[in-house]
Amino acid sequence: MAKKTFVGGVHPYEGKEFTEKKAIEKLPLPQRVAIPLQQHIGAPAKALVEKGQEVKAGEKIAEASGFVSVPIHSSISGKVKGIEKVNHPVSGRGEAIVIESDGEDNWVETIRFEENYLELDSKEMLERIKDAGIAGLGGATFPTHVKLSPPPDKKIDTVILNGAECEPYLTADHRLMLEHADDIVAGLRIIMKILNVQQGIIGIEDNKPDAIEVMRKAVKDFNNIQVYVFPVKYPQGAEKQMIKAALNREVPSGGLPMDVGVVVQNVGTAKAMYEAVAYHKPLTHRVVTVTGAAVNEPKNVLVPIGTMFEDVVAFCGGMKESAGKIVMGGPMMGLAQPNLQVPVVKGTSGILILEEHEAHVPAEDPCIACGRCVEVCPMHLLPTTLQILVEHENYTEAERLHIMDCIECGSCSYICPSNRRLVQGIRLGKRKILEARRKAG
């Protein structure tokens, strides 16, 4: 059978060897966490605690402030030091609930296993997922319960669990699949139950043969769940590209996966959903791949949300003198950070520390019209044309050429021999267009 894939994409250096063989280790209890109120797409959560208040691990400390919002739970037990402005890995600065550890790790008593969790009705399942504060752990952090509540006119027939982990360096999902395959499959079955769907697919790139084998074993008793193997190519894990490769369906321009009857969830999110439904366990920890040539001992670490990057990196032997750039997430779409005084949030899939020479940003040359960006664009756009249009502030023409369809995967900038800031320019253009739309009402 021909391998399933999509048109376009690039093959960057994979960098998985740093951590792919390293089992997930639990971070020792941090002394302090700063848990931001905004860790998901949508309205920020509203704090429920006050300065000086004692909290337990797993206790709800902020509530959702609307449908597209999620609550937040404490990841450690201790005393609330205050609600302070701290560095935020996405927005730069943001409010966070700072909690000083009591050194105990006391958990709320509500966490317990429920044997018959699969017999719960889907409304109850959805409620538990919402209460657990789950947002997409792949990095986009869209509130999960919203994704699982499609409007009634959208008929969903397939759920895809995304285990592609196409970002170079990251191995958190890889390790989760190896170490928690059954939990992930249980999570998938919960999603299928909620959406009343008969077909489940787990998509994995072929650079993880061990994970493919383990997941195949884990699904062999369920004939409505299959493991699909994709050739390694970035951005295979992008929602639209994964749906195209798996089902040959194209999410319409400006549309969502539900428009073609599909819901995609990350494997880590599926595990969190299983824990939420079967254990009443809120999302308080996540696996973070701490990696890169400038990290002394790269590891996959289970980290309480709100822990400072500094503490996580210290657990991995600290960073080397040669460190030149700190990135939250992978090298293709991750967000650069000015320092390590930033808390881990729900979307922190990795902490990547590149060496100075790797982080070097070369000077731009003029576009020589080689067409490579056009060839690799997984959305079949004309990146160089769009970037030049944005430079000339010709947003009308840029919109006509579908600038808003850009998924910002960065393949164009990666491949450009002139080192042009293609996706960067396009990103700016999209923002300007959205601003103008908002102003126009």
Binding site: V10, P12, Y13, K240, K244, E250, V251, P252, S253, G254, A323, G324, K325, I326, V327, P331, M332, M333, G334, L335, A336, Q337, P338, N339, Q341, L352, L354, E358, A359, V361, P362, D365, P366, C367, I368, A369, C370, G371, V374, P378, M379, H380, L381, L382, T384, T385, L401, H402, D405, G410, S413, Y414, I415, C416, P417, S418, N419, V423, Q424, R427
Partner: protein, 349 residues
């Protein structure tokens, strides 16, 4: 606070890694790929070929550096693009050309065709080809003196240098055969012999043992260069293969002296500047379309024009003008070959 005293790292927008390829690497790869043909030129035409090439390259590089300095722009001659222009211009000149012509040509190529339009990436025409057209229009005698119409069809041997190019020979002979009443029987016989001989001279065409411009004659040397460029992903199949394929088909249909579908298409591929043009000049990234579909349209157009000029036009060879004319259509082709966007739905309202 401790935060401010600590080192701050570079923050840029993603992606944070880049492919190692660069404009200089691409350009120098092309220069290396041109070396086999230069060696063949020296072998068949003597050291004159090397001097012409060197003069051309030096003039191109010096002109570019001088203009960039005058314009207070960063001097970027090290990227190798001006060197390519120099080599390609020399490759499109006859070996007997006077020494000042490559110099004048290179100055024109860089100053007028490239830098006046904004430098690397902004030129509309291939600089080397535009300079060749300029030289041909300005000094037609010097540009063609060495291959006046042949009396006899000798194309093999070093003697060919001062004789006609194979394509010239073909054109003259075909003309005679087309209107036999105007010529005496001996001439007619000679023309028929010449065509028969051309068809059996593939080996000479392949190795480059024929008359022609400095860098265009050795098909094998050019193909070795093409392989280097394929291997380094500097070119892909679309333009060269579509171009050559179009020429082959059209030459087969229209290129014969005995009616349609009798043309010697192999001869048309191997002779003249087609191989040099198809692999090294039509593929010039700056002056060819950016989309795959556009590149194919561009190559088909170049093929049609090449054959039209060769068979019906006033010149024996049409590669240069065909590419130049198609260069002018690139913005138009790019405009009409925008790819269908992922998920674009046909409007069914």
């Amino acid at each position: 606070m401790s935060e401010t005293s600590e080192k701050l790292f570079v923050v840029t927008s993603s992606p944070h890694i880049r492919d190692a390829d660069s404009v200089p690497k691409i350009m120098w790869t092309v220069n290396i790929a041109l070396l086999p043909a230069l060696l063949a030129a020296v072998y068949f035409f003597g050291f004159k070929a090397l001097w012409v090439t060197l003069l051309s390259v030096i003039a191109a590089v010096v002109t570019e550096a001088a203009i960039q300095k005058l314009a207070k722009k960063p001097i970027r001659v090290h990227d190798g693009a001006a060197v390519i222009t120099g080599i390609l211009l020399a490759f499109n000149l006859p070996p007997s050309v006077p020494w000042w012509m490559p110099v004048v040509g290179s100055v024109f190529a860089i100053a007028i065709v490239k830098e006046a339009f904004g430098g690397l990436g902004y030129n509309i025409l291939n600089p080397a080809l535009a300079a060749r057209a300029f030289l041909l229009a300005s000094w037609p005698v010097e540009m063609t003196a060495s291959w006046v119409a042949p009396k006899e069809g000798t194309i093999s041997g070093i003697a060919a240098i001062t004789s006609a190019t194979p394509l010239n020979l073909l054109k003259q002979s075909a003309k005679i055969i087309a209107s036999p009443e105007k010529f005496d029987p001996a001439q007619l016989q000679a023309a028929q012999d010449a065509i028969a001989k051309l068809s059996s001279s593939y080996t000479n065409l392949l190795i480059g043992n024929v008359g022609g411009c400095i860098g265009e004659t050795s098909v094998i040397a050019l193909l070795i260069g093409a392989l280097i460029m394929f291997y380094r992903h500097v070119i892909d199949w679309r333009i060269p293969f579509t171009y050559i394929g179009t020429v082959a088909v059209l030459a087969w249909i229209f290129g014969g002296t005995e009616g349609l579908f009798t043309g010697n298409w192999i001869f048309h591929i191997l002779s003249g500047g087609l191989i040099l043009g198809a692999f090294f000049m039509a593929t010039d990234m700056v002056t060819s379309p950016i989309t795959g579909k556009g590149q194919i349209i561009f190559a088909i157009g170049t093929g049609i024009l090449t054959v039209a000029i060769r068979i019906w036009g006033g010149y024996p060879e049409g590669v240069s003008y065909a590419i130049l004319l198609m260069n002018l259509t690139v913005p138009l082709i790019d405009r009409y070959t925008v790819p269908k966007v992922f998920g674009e739905v046909k409007s069914n309202e």
